[in-house]
Symmetry: C2
Subunit: 351 residues, 2 copies
């Protein structure tokens, strides 16, 4: 009744040893599997283990140096389709490589991010993966740099996934995808259809993801000798609601354009609804394109022309490169390619 081990049912290796009539070391060795133990002893121990439904405490094993490694994953909001796919890739690859996977949503709050990274340092996580663009300020670089150093000094590794890279000598693994190139190809496709006034919609203006896509937008124009009207760049954030609101405002103001390139498919979805609400036909009256190729892009009406980003692969690569990195190997910096997916939402401009 008062026996400690009976209280919660949580039994220790010594309880098992007592029941099997052996020492704790023997139990450990039976469970470990490699050390030679006689068949009789082994079966006595296994019986006790089964009867008590014993499982060794993973934290204690970790302290002793034989724990399950852990990997952490930080993002703003797991609800966004593209981030969810990255999360999927990360989680799959982590468990494939025998790692546990911790998640944290920051809601965009830098303090949460710092706190969580500190916790992961304490947890001795093998790697911490930071996901999603950010404003590339001096403060960002310094802060992130500090995280990288402190993680490195605790033996774990910082991975930036779709996030602005730091200076050349920071102990960081960076995996990016080509925002500028994708946007360039997409906008070139739109311009090739004869559109001349193309609205660029959404995305936080200081966010590197949006900036890269915007650069591609501008570069594609300039490659055709066009200089886009600054009034055609409209910033907000990456949500469906921002797309909806921005598009309504643009229509209300009577802004002239024949095509819209949205910063993300989510933004495009909101914009599409706003266009429909205004009685406009897509792509008859206005062409529309997105970015990310989220699964739903196919089911919008018309099916959305967009840029495919290999989000799942991005996540998988992030964990693979982070974990395979040896102490001597150089810090990696990968840039994944993207490609345009042509569907039905972009048509030739009317003469």
């Amino acid at each position: 009744m008062t026996r400690k081990s009976e209280d919660v049912g949580r039994s220790t290796i010594r309880d098992v040893a007592a029941r099997a009539g052996v020492s704790a070391s023997t139990v450990s060795r039976v469970l470990g599997g490699v050390y030679p133990v006689s068949a009789a002893t082994r079966s006595r121990v296994m019986r006790a283990v089964r009867e008590m439904d014993y499982v060794a405490d993973a934290r204690a094993k970790a302290v002793a140096g034989v724990g399950t490694p852990t990997l952490a994953f930080v993002l703003e909001d797991i609800t966004g389709p593209s981030f969810a796919h990255m999360a999927y890739g990360v989680e799959r690859e982590a468990t494939r490589l025998g790692h546990l996977c911790l998640v944290c949503g920051t809601e965009g709050d830098v303090r949460h991010e710092l706190e969580f990274v500190e916790m992961m340092r304490a947890q001795r996580a093998a790697a911490v993966i930071l996901v999603g663009g950010a404003a590339d300020t001096a403060e960002y670089r310094e802060r992130t740099r500090r995280m990288a150093d402190s993680l490195a000094s605790a033996g774990s590794r910082l991975v930036l996934c779709g996030r602005p890279p730091l200076g050349p000598d920071a102990p960081v693994t960076v995996i990016e995808y080509d925002n500028e190139g994708g946007a360039y190809a997409l906008v070139a496709h739109v311009l090739a259809q004869g559109h001349e006034r193309v609205l660029f919609l959404g995305g936080k203006p200081d966010h590197t993801t949006a900036q890269g896509r915007e650069r591609g937008y501008l570069a594609a124009h300039r490659a055709r000798g066009l200089e886009p009207d600054p009034a055609l760049l409209r910033h907000g954030d990456f949500t469906r609601d921002a797309g909806h609101r921005l598009m309504r405002e643009a229509l209300k103001e009577g802004l002239e354009f024949t095509a819209v390139v949205a910063a993300t498919d989510m933004v495009a979805a909101g914009a599409l609804t706003a266009l429909h609400e205004a009685g406009l036909d897509v792509p008859g009256d206005v062409s529309l394109a997105g970015y990310d190729d989220i699964p739903f892009a196919r089911d919008l009406h018309p099916a959305l022309t967009t840029v495919h980003v290999p989000y799942e692969e991005l996540g998988r690569l992030a964990v693979r490169t982070a974990l395979s990195r040896t102490a001597e190997a150089p810090d990696e910096h990968l840039l994944l390619g993207t490609h345009v997916v042509v569907r039905d939402s972009v048509a030739a401009a009317r003469p």
Copy 2:
């Protein structure tokens, strides 16, 4: 050079103590915060901590009984919008209550699920939340029952979230949402528009989620004195592709119907695209309704009439009830309500 603590930079509390010229206990107490320590000693210790960038090993703390509690979250695929929202709720609430949040995707494989639960038992997770419907077989009940017992004996708790409940005396917390009631209300709404042949589309036939929704479909018919044609029930799974395929097949076979109720919004999205491809107008020719109210439902064209399920709240409740449960409190079983969201995809049947 050969000093152990210099090797990786991972410094222990004794290293800090040595540098500060105090004992390990004192460092522990300074960091702990409550025990009285003189200002001079404290600042010496804090300095050493800062200089070495020391963080106490969380696993060791856990072994000593003062660790950060952990909570685990198991789902089939984090990519689905509704599960992603639940995951969001779980993660938010977990970190709000100071818990770490472990994630595992099973890809529907029961063995992965079992393995992961075993790991969580070893990790001494405070709770393990199993998400998503399942086939309610005897094998399911026995297997889940065993998980519940073994988790309980290790001091943690099993939570079933949108999953078939077990017998009355299993040590389990169950949080469900009302599939039957929601489907009843939705189908009643469709029938009230004058539709008589309503196609029910998608959902694994032995899956309790689909079954509940199907029961609602049938009950709503019977409440109006109708007995639906069995040919109007078409099973598949919960994906967009299933919706697309099933709808195409139904159209190709020339099946007669004037409205479609899909098992989920994802299925509805696929079905909608198939209807559009067939040149049919929604809701002019065919009415369509979904289930789940995922964010994208608004941006389909026409905007999808559907049933709102409070997924995020479901996740939050799951962790809250699981963690607040005391040893004496009875096992809880919550059933959350749902409500129909009327948008534009259901119209009156043509006479």
